[in-house]
Symmetry: C2
Subunit: 241 residues, 2 copies
Amino acid sequence: MPYELFYWPGIQGRGEFVRLALEAAGADYVDVARGHGPGQGVKAMTALMAQAPGPFAPPFLRDGAVLVSHVAGILGYLGPKLGLAPVDEAMRLYAQGLQLTITDFVAEVHDTHHPISTALYYEDQKAEAKARATAFLDHRLPKYFGYFERALAGNPAGSAHIVGEQLTTVDLSLFQCWVGMGYAFPRAFADADARWPKLSALAASVARLPAIAGYLASDRRLPFNEHGIFRRYPELDRAAG
Amino acid sequence: MPYELFYWPGIQGRGEFVRLALEAAGADYVDVARGHGPGQGVKAMTALMAQAPGPFAPPFLRDGAVLVSHVAGILGYLGPKLGLAPVDEAMRLYAQGLQLTITDFVAEVHDTHHPISTALYYEDQKAEAKARATAFLDHRLPKYFGYFERALAGNPAGSAHIVGEQLTTVDLSLFQCWVGMGYAFPRAFADADARWPKLSALAASVARLPAIAGYLASDRRLPFNEHGIFRRYPELDRAAG
């Protein structure tokens, strides 16, 4: 029985953090809302959301009788099953903390283009978006990526992975944050390899994993676009440094 | 060995969601950063944060060799130990999804007074805060609280609790969101009892729990103030409806 992932079709968005874990593990899964057969498509997703109790928002994952929502929740559930989580409890909880920190980071990236309201178009909050994006690039990005860089440097097992000596969902999610930033803010991110060398090396090593390289080259990997979390609006970008 | 909670002293903030769980269960805990003895105070907290690997931000909880961060992470860890989580796995994951939805709600409440940057004072982003608060009250609050109300109505075990037939950390957190909204937006929230009657009844029943009533009357319960998540800025409030 394949895992069933439910997420908006047409964007990487938050669903991509789950896709990367499923793909890295070679798991059998269906991307339900992107399908067109019976029981597939967006309607199958919104029908589940209309149930009470149902999930608040995509992404969510169904595994038999279990329905689990939110990126960190889904990855906390899948990690041990896919061999992408530490076995030791203290380490697993540390990885969970990193994953929840990534959740916060992703929400802040989203708000660089929607600082006032998700009910308004970007074009209707452009000035505020410029102010928020500038504050994000000046203060928040260095705070988050500096933290992940220190966590990599402080990993007693070495900086090939952020937790322990094996690939976890956190490594995969950091890869997505890294390439997402490079897409959305290419000018501000131009010196990223020098600023956060261990994070840069981690992202590169994830991209080289055969399962991930195969996925990135496939049509299952949607391109970045201006409907997702990481959006390229040149007017929000600025010179590096 | 008592649980050690680490959070900024002087505010309820995100730490309060953890305090409510510890208090409801009558757990033995130390609110480390509020203490003044050896190994206590804010310095004890920031020392742990300076470690790599350490937590990104408060709140975090230490339980012997385990360090767990983020409200949803801490409550996911404590819930089963304190008897405040469903035993059934599917139900526990559903409760986790609700808890993570509350995390998102709390972040949005915070951004009503800081929509541009946490590095700026509220006074320097007041106009943007008014726009974001209005959008929050118009669109986001009804979306979240409407969802929780439907979840209560849809609970097969009845609407005395949001998951199953026993008190969980989610009930306690919803109480905090409810009283927080009443503090921050008293005018907009004036008709809340009529709009979300089951949520209102849940909040009232949590406040009547002997352990919680005792806590709320104690000096361990800090008052709401304009440094926390829920802030009363009358200019951000508006008439109900």
